[in-house]
Symmetry: C2
Subunit: 215 residues, 2 copies
Amino acid sequence: MSTSTMKIYQAVGSPNSRRVRIFIAEKGIDIPTTNLDLSTKEQFSDTYSAINSRNVVPTLVLEDGTSIGEVPAICRYLEEMYPDPVLLGSNSRDKVLIGMWDRRMEQEGFAAVMDAVRNSLAGMKGRALTGPHFYDQIPAMVDRSKLRVTNFYSDLDKRLSESPFVAGAGFSIADITTMCTLDFAQRALQMPFAQTHGAIKAWYDIVSARPSSSL
Amino acid sequence: MSTSTMKIYQAVGSPNSRRVRIFIAEKGIDIPTTNLDLSTKEQFSDTYSAINSRNVVPTLVLEDGTSIGEVPAICRYLEEMYPDPVLLGSNSRDKVLIGMWDRRMEQEGFAAVMDAVRNSLAGMKGRALTGPHFYDQIPAMVDRSKLRVTNFYSDLDKRLSESPFVAGAGFSIADITTMCTLDFAQRALQMPFAQTHGAIKAWYDIVSARPSSSL
């Protein structure tokens, strides 16, 4: 299904962009995409600053020119426009439980990996936080963030030993966020989950076998 | 309007609890409330751990016993049950714009204040992050977080010079989050917004005059 009236701005290596790429693929829709080159700081160009004042990717630009930033907001809009298949819940209870779990995975997993990466990589000097402002790295945050990732894995293994998917019985946006977090931790921090986390492994084998995961 | 089948667990001094208290007051509903004493670490009791595995407040417990944590998820459920007055947007575009702005205020404002507080206060030693795990304070985060708060005020003043409310033409959850952030910064960090931020001041005078703000 083509949605030629919307447009996505994103970056190939950005894990937040990947969350949206996978969400779009799961919806079976096709949105015209502009790739930004973060290595040349294209997100700070005047053109993109006018599209996203936080200078972050991804952004969804609607047919009327409205810019939507922030992954959960972008996915919410796409869910409202293209409800099938359901990825954000089909009733009030499921919607808020999926929202809650997606946010927990972001705060306890994704954000911890991001903090470790941004406060350690040489290429992130002066860019320790996303957004329009420039902040110095804090080396002490690296070890603390890695400890958070380790704790996140333990908590996730416990959760997935009680629930087939992160937010309950079915695949949802919370699984996309979590899979992107795990792959990001492995790629950027060389911190894969331990093979002893059997519940994570069983879940990961299932979600990473979906065609969308290759994006 | 009484909603005697739901229940809220919260703490008086918790700024995240305050966001939900104000949201509930704006809805004109009444939800039976249990106050936790964070000074005695009641959030880590076995009873509360079973209600909220992250050991954070607030939690909304539904009529069927389901626990909903995370402020945006709690408010989303209340909005679905009690749609009037609308605080999360009345059409798809407004819903995602309000969600986007609420999240930006959280990430760039609320989280920055929280980081400065948790990494500096003597009473927060070993509790530098919310959640079930214990992390040491990182003193270097205090100055960086305060710089983030200063930048947040500048960005907010610009936004409010272009828009009457944080997320657009009407009062929304994003205004509640932002007001709670400003009051929290003043109370816990002695960092009020500068009186030169005229747009913040004009907006703050309006939102803080609402009866709900006294909560």
